[in-house]
């Protein structure tokens, strides 16, 4: 065990009623990757946000190398040696790559208030090259680069000054294979330089693989720390949830015969730059899994089928041949879609739970052509409760809900609409095991009721566990189809992804 680098002492934090952190004390050592895990809402982000100056802690101290750190904001944090890579996009379009990298640190290039752009670009380029990202041009505006590259630029931005502490908060979920590789390289480099990487992820395999030590939070309370060697996924789950839960929340049945009644058939669908002439069929009562690397176009497939993609070519039809060319079409024919991008596409987060649940069903809720607020409330309440959503009431704003509960609202909406063709894109992304279990159970129930589900997911285990049939995509094309079986191994799928 290396020597102590950072001591978090009795960190306490409230958000109004929520006690996000309850006197958490953890020590982090030099030269280690220290994972921080816990259910959603357990306080991981809050802790690290307090450290890096995104939030302000109520009480407690962070001791870094013997002296206290208290960051006013991220840049201030950087100057004190702590950096964070957040989950969301952290770069600003309209600015050049260099301006992004040095945002908030211009002063080093500023003389008498004049900014030396040339020097700044040169410096930025040096850093980019040193990370091996020399194909990125520091002088160009960041808009010229895709999501993946912008993430890499962020990594550079938050590590070029060799912080003593680097926080990586749920970043991997946002990254594709390539991105992850690069990220892990950087993390290891930091470790070898004697810094400490605080690594937050919901992917337990990944966690065990990458980290030396693993600390667990539960409901804002520090549970304990175990070493990589002691760690198994089950052990971690138990620590996180506080009780034994086996692997059995996936469906257990195998070899059930899928009806050959086709309910959706997709023919030669293309979406420029995303899907390339793809055809597939969904059968009644089937769970069709679609997997692949996150840029393989699978997320667009969901949109394309739901009639949401702009400039879609090819045809999407129901069993009876009715074409689906727009979202209203789709909804009218009882299709449902839960997007990967929950906060922007699935939910109007600045609106109430009630409105969010009722929106697609407004017409159905009319009594004699009249829509009354009362009916809406009752309707929303019924299904929110049915999904056991944690809320103060249906008038609560969705923005105040936790990720998992947000997802529950999304599902409540479509169950309320009583859809039988359901497209779920990354249904359990950033959601804890309990909620996960609920969602899987629900999917299974629906399947039994003869509803058909398309599940698009980056989590291989989930695909193996839930799908009757799995399509693996690569470069916008289908690259392998697998039927449900116990013999099926994740490696089989991965081979077809890369």
């Amino acid at each position: 065990m290396g020597e102590v680098l950072l001591k978090a002492e009795k960190i306490d934090k409230h958000f109004g009623i929520t006690h996000a952190l309850d006197h958490v004390s953890i020590t982090f050592n030099k030269g280690e990757i220290h994972a921080l895990i816990g259910e959603n809402g357990s306080g991981k982000s809050t802790l690290t946000s307090c450290l890096t100056g995104i939030y302000k802690k109520d009480s407690g101290t962070f001791i870094l190398d013997g002296k206290e750190v208290s960051a006013a904001n991220q840049v201030d944090g950087n100057h004190q040696g702590v950096a964070i890579i957040v989950q969301e996009i952290g770069t600003l379009s309209g600015l050049t790559v260099a301006e992004n990298i040095f945002l908030g640190n211009e002063d080093q290039f500023t003389k008498f208030g004049i900014k030396n752009t040339a020097a700044m670009n040169k410096k930025a380029q040096e850093y980019l090259d040193s990370y091996g990202f020399n194909y990125i041009d520091a002088a160009k505006t960041i808009d010229d680069y895709n999501f993946e590259d912008r993430k890499l630029i962020e990594i550079v931005k938050s590590t070029y000054f060799n912080p003593k502490i680097l926080v990586v908060d749920e970043t991997t979920t946002a990254l594709g294979q390539k991105g992850r590789e690069e990220l892990f390289k950087v993390m290891h480099k930091m470790r070898d330089m004697g810094s400490c990487v605080i690594f937050i992820s919901h992917d337990l395999e990944e966690v065990i693989e990458q980290s030396d030590q693993i600390s667990v939070l539960r409901d804002g309370v520090y549970i304990g720390t175990i070493t990589k060697e002691e760690a198994t996924t089950d052990r971690l789950k138990q620590l996180m949830v506080g009780r034994e839960i086996g692997n059995n929340y996936y469906r257990t049945d195998y070899g059930e015969k899928i009806s050959d009644e086709v309910v959706i058939s997709v023919k030669n669908v293309s979406v420029k730059g995303q899907i390339d002439n793809l055809s597939l069929e969904l059968h009644k009562g089937e769970i069709l899994g679609i997997g692949g690397l996150s840029e393989c176009g699978m997320h667009e497939v969901g949109k394309a089928i739901f009639g949401a993609s702009y400039f879609r070519e090819g045809s999407v039809t129901l069993g009876d041949g009715t074409p689906i060319n727009s979202i209203p079409d789709a909804i009218k024919h009882s299709m449902a879609y839960a997007s990967k991008d929950r906060d922007n596409e699935s939910l109007v987060i600045n609106d109430t739970i009630c409105e969010n649940i009722c929106l697609p069903s407004l017409e159905d809720l009319k009594k004699g052509g009249v829509l009354s607020g009362k009916t809406m409330k009752e309707f929303a309440d019924k299904f929110a409760k049915q999904m056991s959503t944690k809320m103060t009431g249906v008038d609560q704003f969705v923005s105040a809900l936790s990720g998992g509960n947000k997802q529950k609202v999304v599902l409540a909406r479509w169950i309320g609409k009583d859809s039988d063709l359901i497209i779920l894109d990354s249904p359990t992304r950033g959601i804890d095991v309990k909620v996960k279990a609920d969602i899987y159970a629900m999917m299974n129930r629906m399947r039994k009721e003869g509803k058909s589900i398309i599940m698009i997911s980056e989590e291989i285990m989930e695909l193996l566990g839930m799908a009757d049939r799995i399509l693996i995509m690569k470069d916008g094309k289908i690259n392998g189809e697998f039927l449900r079986s116990e013999e099926l191994r994740d490696t089989d799928l991965i081979d077809n992804m890369i």
């Binding site: 904001n73 952290g90 600003l92 379009s93 309209g94 945002l103 004049i114 752009t117």
Partner: protein, 312 residues
């Protein structure tokens, strides 16, 4: 063509083409009475005044907020300038409006930030107040700038001052932190904040800077017009639009870089049209129609509609 589009001067070329096109049209229609060099020079007299305001407004609009008090600011600053020139001569004429304009900008910014209300509302409410003050500042006479202090109303002084303003604007945008942060906030306030940009502070800075430019415009305005009357019932609002038009050009051509040039040429185009119509002996009332339409089309042509983009 693709290649040309890449070129960072594409925007400017486009603008110049339009400028020449408009000039050519009117020149054809009214060869005798329109568009000889000396005439162009007089057209540009008012263009360069409004462009200064346009530069100021650009700082605000590029960040997202708006300023509806431009007119009130210019009226009040011009009056102050005129009164000051009586006592302190040219010194007063220059310093007073700059101070007044900047102060008003600062007040706008502070109220907007502190009250956390839409800048649109704040600046309308404050315009009411500034206008009232302008009445007190004139007590019902129209202040007239003394014949001795009108240098900034004519070449070369007006050109020098205006060009100074343009350069200042371009410089701040390109070579200072303020410029970067202005764009950063415009791009995404939340991220900018997390990156340690003091968003409220730089919003106030932008409003204050804008105020400074309106102060400069006031100097040119009073020098060119040589008199100013107090405004009331938001009549000063009508003064918002000509600078705003320039700003729209700036925003529309932002992606090509060089917004300042866009603003200046934009204002020139507008003045060109005004004088064109006079030269044609056409009723100048349609000038508004054409200006509005032309502006709308130009903005439409320069913005590429992205399917599904959220546009408020």
């Amino acid at each position: 063509m693709k290649k040309l589009k890449q070129n960072q001067y594409f925007g400017i070329i486009l603008l110049l083409v339009m400028l020449v096109a408009f000039w050519a049209i009117f020149k054809l229609l009214a060869p005798a009475t329109f568009g000889s060099p000396d005439k162009l020079a007089t057209y540009m007299k008012s263009a360069l005044i409004y462009a200064v305001g346009g530069c100021g407004l650009y700082f605000i609009c590029v960040m997202g907020p708006f300023d509806m008090s431009v007119g009130a600011n210019i009226v009040l600053s011009s009056i102050i300038a005129c009164n000051a020139s009586v006592r302190f001569g040219y010194l007063g004429l220059i310093i007073a409006p700059i101070l007044c304009g900047t102060l008003i900008g600062l007040i706008n910014g502070l109220v907007y930030i502190k009250l956390h209300i839409s800048s649109l509302i704040v600046t309308v409410a404050l315009s009411l107040i500034y206008e009232a003050l302008s009445v007190y500042a004139t007590n019902g006479k129209n202040v007239i700038l003394d014949i001795g202090f009108r240098a900034f109303g004519d070449y070369p002084a007006n050109l020098i001052l205006a060009v100074f303003a343009y350069l200042l604007c371009a410089f701040i945008l390109k070579y200072t932190k303020v410029g970067t942060y202005t764009y950063a906030i415009g791009s995404n306030e939340v991220i900018a904040k997390n990156m340690g940009v003091n968003v409220p502070k730089y919003k106030v800075v932008a409003f204050t800077l804008a105020g400074l430019f309106f102060g400069l415009q006031a100097i040119l305005t009073i020098s060119f017009g040589t008199s100013m009357t107090s405004a009331s019932n938001l009549s000063s609002m009508s003064r918002n639009f000509t600078p705003l038009m320039g700003t729209f050009f700036g925003l529309a051509f932002k992606k090509y870089g060089h917004p300042v040039i866009a603003i200046v040429i934009g204002e020139m185009i507008i003045q060109l049209m005004f004088n064109g119509f006079v030269a044609l002996g056409a009723p100048t009332t349609i000038q508004n129609v054409v200006t509005g339409a032309a502006l709308l089309l130009i903005v439409a042509l320069t913005t590429k509609p992205v399917k599904g983009a959220v546009v408020k």
